[in-house]
């Protein structure tokens, strides 16, 4: 009986704790937003310059037609898999520990997808004609070419963006209602609109739970299909070392790998900044660490299978690419990447003591993300740099304009996330309460 009493007494504290980021803002937050805005502005300036003068401001050149923009595109979609994987798969498997992690991961999904879309535009040679990609009725009766993997990709990403927005919105409704009841001013109106008349009746809860139960398996399937299709962008091409059947599953696992690592960083930073130690506990870092260990092993297994097949087969077109990675011009980034995404996570995360150490896990998250970004570049550039006609072999490194755009976009992602944190409770309040109630009942 006393147990139930304490659980009920905890509820107002949960409300207070988790709504406080929405209600109070420190000067450091404004400073952070200001600095990020400067970086975003610099990136926007670089993009404007590129549009004005030509896509040649990149270091892309014949035969390396794709470079850092496409690599970033793949990378950011990978990051977007964090939310769906964590909250989708864990919801599906009824993992209780997911509760404080889902919302911040889902927010990452939405932000990352917005950023991903930008890279398509950076990449286009004539971005002002982007609407040719949209199937709209026109007097020439021209339709986009749905045989092109790029159209599959556009469709998949649009589906994923729509679905994940619904997916983050549904569990937000009760929290929006809570914010509506506690926050005054113009924001009250916004929350009132977003809460669409939620008053917490039994029927509403039943409907909401049913809706979440329906969309969760769907979004997990969409997530897997999206990154498979991103993999198809490469594996459908005839390019040596791209034309491989493992690309689709490999891309999905790679995406989850970098996504989980990103959640690890986010979890650590948010916990630190908003003092969420009571909610995000060492236990959560440990569980995520275990998951990360699984993706490390899975990804390493797939990568090994792929590389061994190329190495043993010694088909000249393919082996040229592999040689450039193992001991050629891309050896330094290659071995750095291997240590970042396989070796370091493996030797650290296997230790149970290490998995209890949030700072260490956050650093592993950073290292994995750095490594996965390089990995995306190494998937794209070396195969393009080694076409079958060896007279055309070439090299590539991103130009200053490209780097400015990449950094500006990273700043934009951080900025959007920081702004979202001020608008949406980073931990799902009602789910947290429900978890407490469940824990007390068992």
């Amino acid at each position: 009986m006393t147990d139930r009493q304490t659980v009920w007494e905890e509820m107002p504290k949960i409300n207070r704790d988790l709504l406080s980021p929405l209600q109070t803002t420190t000067w450091t937050y404004y400073l952070w937003v200001g600095v990020l805005s400067c970086f975003v502005a610099a990136g926007a300036g670089a993009w404007t310059y590129q549009i004005q003068t030509g896509i040649g401001q990149t270091d892309l050149h014949h035969p390396i037609f794709w470079g850092s923009y496409i690599a970033s595109f793949v990378y950011w979609i990978g990051v977007s898999h964090s939310g769906t994987f964590i909250s989708g798969v864990l919801r599906l498997t009824n993992a209780e520990w997911r509760r404080p992690v889902t919302r911040m991961a889902e927010l990452m999904t939405v932000v990352a997808l917005l950023v991903t879309a930008l890279f398509v535009f950076y990449h286009l040679g004539r971005v002002w004609r982007f609407y040719y990609l949209i199937p709209y009725p026109n007097q020439r009766e021209l339709w986009p070419n749905f045989r092109s993997p790029l159209m599959w990709d556009a469709t998949a990403i649009f589906t994923y963006a729509t679905a994940s927005t619904i997916y983050i919105y549904l569990p937000l409704i009760p929290d929006f209602a809570l914010a509506r009841d506690r926050i005054q001013g113009w924001r009250k109106t916004v929350y009132r609109w977003l809460a669409i008349g939620w008053h917490g009746s039994q029927a509403q809860w039943r409907t909401l739970e049913m809706a979440i139960r329906i969309i969760t398996p769907l979004i997990v399937m969409v997530m897997i299909s999206v990154h498979s299709i991103v993999g198809f962008d490469f594996s459908m091409a005839l390019v040596p070392a791209w034309h491989s059947t493992i690309f689709a599953p490999y891309f999905v696992v790679g995406a989850v790998h970098s996504g989980l690592a990103m959640v690890m960083i986010g979890l650590y930073v948010l916990r630190k900044v908003y003092h969420l130690q009571n909610y995000v506990r060492t236990e959560h870092f440990e569980k995520l660490g275990k998951l990360l260990l699984v993706t490390t092993l899975l990804l390493a297994y797939m990568y090994f299978a792929e590389q061994l097949t190329i190495w043993y087969g010694k088909v000249p077109d393919h082996i040229a690419v592999q040689n450039s990675l193992l001991y050629g011009s891309y050896a330094v980034p290659f071995w750095f990447m291997v240590s970042c995404i396989y070796v370091i996570p493996l030797v650290t995360l296997v230790w149970p003591r290490f998995r209890q150490w949030p700072v260490g896990l956050m650093m592993v998250g950073l290292i994995i993300n750095l490594g996965m970004y390089i990995e995306r570049m190494l998937i794209i550039v070396p195969p393009l740099a080694h076409p079958r006609l060896s007279f055309q072999w070439d090299e590539y490194f991103p130009s200053m304009i490209e780097l400015a755009i990449l950094v500006g976009t990273l700043a934009l992602a951080l900025l959007l996330y920081s702004l979202a944190v001020k608008f949406v409770p980073v931990i799902s309040i009602w789910e947290e309460k429900l978890g407490k109630k469940h824990a007390q009942e068992h």
């Binding site: 794709w66 040679g125 070419n145 993997p149 006609l389």
Partner: protein, 245 residues
Amino acid sequence: MSQDPQATEEYSKKAASPYKWEMVVDLDRCSGCEACVVACHAENNIRISGEEEAAEGRAINWIRIERYWEGDYPNVKAKFLPVMCQHCDDAPCEPVCPVYASYHTPEGLNAQVYNRCIGVRYCGNNCPYVARQFNWFDPHWDEPLAEQLNPDVTVRSGGVMEKCTFCVQRIRSGKEAAHKEGRRVRDGEITPACVQSCPTSALIFGDRNDPDSRVSHLKKSRRGFHLMESLGTHPAVTYLRRLSE
């Protein structure tokens, strides 16, 4: 031929067109002089790149002479390989274009619609011959070079993919001239700029549907092969092996 009725029908549709353009490259005759490259630039309004741009790999050539070294010093031999768009019958660049800028004409040409191209550059990646060239910047000609632009050929803006057309403007005017006289195009009547300027006559152009044309005869030569035939792209360019081999 394939047993698939739809594929067969498609093939017969391709074959039903009166002409099927074909080029033959006799490697035994090529001296690597690059006259074809210059002629192609002049004919097709290809943008001119300076030394710096060329060093960055941005120079555009619709036809290029690839030079490979064979043997060890001092017994080194240079081998030349002229490469241009192979106008594949099953072109890998075509299905991957999201906006249909790359398409196949009934006469077997692989055409590029400049107006339609938005520069995603997938076609460039997927061309095993690296024949596709991209305009990284808007074109520029120093005076008085701008005065000699060919009025029959579009000037391409920045951000657009381009490549060898088999001098489609010459094909078209040749066909029109023949049509006025109510006859088929005669063999040798249409010559792309590279063919016209080749001092050793290493390049031969013609109609594959005409069994008596030079290309039809040369195609059957025992020296004939296609570049990267194993990829199944069915190119419209046939190479003839060197005699010394």
